[in-house]
Amino acid sequence: MTPGKPAQPPVPRGAFEYLSTRKDEFVGWARKFSLFPYPFVTACCAMEFMSVSSTLYDTDRFGAALPRFTPRQSDLLMVVGTVNHKQAPILRKVYEQMCEPKWVIAFGVCATSGGFYQNYATLLGIDRIIPVDIYIPGCPPRPEMVIDGIMKLQDKIAAERHPIINEDF
């Protein structure tokens, strides 16, 4: 872009782009309010996961209440608690068994970076082996932080492209 000249507005491709963005918004809205979490629960953060799923801080409000304990039927992998090297192949296998679209939340500092267990046994952050969308810090995080993390994930899902039929649409 040469300086001094105004930027050219993008040339609209017409009806196709309008339809695909509306479709993305609609599919994004549907997906973000019907998350099926797979709670990959290991350690102390499980206590806060139980609290956030039950009556006082409900995840049912977001449609994310029903956990599916099989990776084949879930789309949100919540890694709750410390993952150590013995558990790492299991985590990788579970991640690979999930179908697209899938998102990953690293719940707690142990899943984010190993927490304060910086030693031979712990995997220092699950993003060393799988890609992560949202990191929720805290040891363990308060349920309000978890809800904030889920809402940020929902914003991310709403803003993504959702190709359904082929790569363009």
């Binding site: 090297h85 013995k86 790492a88 910086q118 030693n119 031979y120 046994a121 995997l123 060393r128």
Partner: protein
Amino acid sequence: MSAGGDFLGEVQAGVGARTLSSGMAHGILVLDVEPQDLVPLVKDLKGAFGFDMFLDVTAVDWPQRRPRFDVVYHFYSTRRFVRVRIKTRVDESEPIVDTLVPLYGSARYMERECHEMYGIGFRGNDDLRPLLLYEGFQGHPLRKDYPKQREQPLVPYREVEP
């Protein structure tokens, strides 16, 4: 607790002759034995004195000392409510003691853990697979010469985009 203390005095009088040293420490009777006297002493404690619960076996690493490892056992009597600690020493060149699996079922898991963490062999326990660690882990992490942060990952790390 004087009843417990009296009972421990009886135990000390009964088995003290077979130990290298014996004494009380913070309410527990501590017996120091040679490795080969360990199993007969434990059989006696279980049979004659009623120490029916095996609490724990662990080891302490003294790298500057020969023999290097202290193997430490704790027992509890559910009738007299007292504990006894047995310590024995093994060297790095031959860190083997006899197993207690025929006497106590709970010894299986605890000896496995002691073996993988310190490398102490238990003669007679045929199931010394890694329990808290995983297959393929080299070394014994609780020894003082194992660096704390030496990781042995099973899954290769992915490349992180900047």
